[in-house]
Symmetry: C2
Subunit: 203 residues, 2 copies
DNA sequence: CCCCCATTGTGAAATAGTTCACAATGCGGA
DNA sequence: TCCGCATTGTGAACTATTTCACAATGGGGG
């Protein structure tokens, strides 16, 4: 498959959100652009990498385009996700509704801390992280969320990778080393604030 | 000032992290690149937009480059930050150490929910969001973090903007409309998972 | 049935970002 | 002092992404 840029994928994700909320049966690239904060040409170009889904003069069928984008993003299948790190960030993520809505099901939570192990979080019992490998052997997951302290993140990731996890969403503020067939996305909130600081400093 | 790309600013932020951990007195672009997951040419180019801070044959002085980057990013001054939304995400953010370490001080927390108002969070009392404008009049903030439900986010942001807030870090999964002199950065975790889903679907 | 109009799909042009490659140069050692 | 080497700083080349602009076309109205 032709290499598609990350920004295109992120925009598809945004378009999908608006399609799911749309009430009319069709939508034009211009309307989608207005909602998603981009241009109509960008919308059409993004979609054109994957096929031609619209009708000239009319726009796109909302249900069809929704289905197509969900399919492109691989959202039709649903994912089992394990969460490592039952700190406050982990707690926020477990109850975050957006994940379940989009087909990402957190199926287990792990921590090191004996005070947390055994407690119930949103219907799940926090398990000792020492069971990570054996649990994943029984019930494999493609995606893991890492919300541990910076110090333990790389070690946890190594264990996840050995257990067959192929994609990691990382909230620990460190870059992670993984083999090339594993995808990591790091969300670093301090870094986001720093870009805001830069824009405040330069006006 | 010449327009600097967002990716350059984000990389500077990453370099800064490693500089703060470095133990040797000097560092080369190659070493910084290795740590930050980029190339030495990229490091030098990023820095060259702001000046020439290195010594040929030797590299960069760690303390000096640290200071320079902190200065470029506007981190020397320290920021007062207000947080709106005392849900789980808000709770995770309040105690997030990375913010304070980098000079971002959360000075107030607001919520709508009378059950939360008055409770103590990390040394701060959650205040009724109805006091937002009057509080900001007394003690202005440049930065706000919005961690409310999607429905209330735009309304809260309008009030923040009227109260003089110039930069917003948004965790609500909606795009926000603000005047052009206000900077918004939206962190959308479901979207990050969707990019991972895409990469799993296309291998 | 045919024309008109809104809107798509897409090459081509423009812009933005990254990598290359090498002259410039500061330092350490002889 | 002078040489050699490591490493910077930076135009120029390259690659990626966005925007432009317009021919193609489907549908609705007369």
């Amino acid at each position: 498959m032709r290499k598609i840029s990350d920004s295109t994928i992120r925009r598809l994700s945004v378009y999908l959100r608006f399609l799911e909320q749309a009430k009319s049966p069709t939508i034009s690239s211009g309307e989608l652009a207005r909602l998603g904060g981009t241009t109509s040409a960008q919308v059409r170009k993004d979609l054109s990498f994957f096929g031609s889904f619209g009708k000239r003069g009319l726009g796109y069928s909302v249900p069809e385009l929704t289905r197509r984008i969900r399919d492109i993003l691989g959202l039709e299948r649903g994912y089992r996700v394990v969460l490592v790190g039952a700190g406050r960030m982990g707690g926020a993520l477990v109850q975050y509704h957006g994940f379940r809505q989009r087909g990402f099901h957190i199926t287990a939570i792990y921590d090191q801390d004996s005070r947390k192990i055994g407690s119930r979080w949103n219907g799940l019992v926090v398990r000792d992280v020492k069971h990570l490998e054996t649990d994943l052997k029984k019930d494999p997951s493609d995606i893991a969320i890492v919300a541990t302290p910076a110090e333990s993140a790389q070690h946890v990731v190594d264990r996840l990778v050995r257990s067959g996890v192929k994609a990691i969403l990382n909230f620990a503020p460190v870059p992670l080393n993984v083999p090339p067939d594993v995808e990591v996305k790091t969300v670093n909130m301090a870094l986001e604030l720093e870009t805001l600081s830069y824009s405040l400093a330069n006006r």
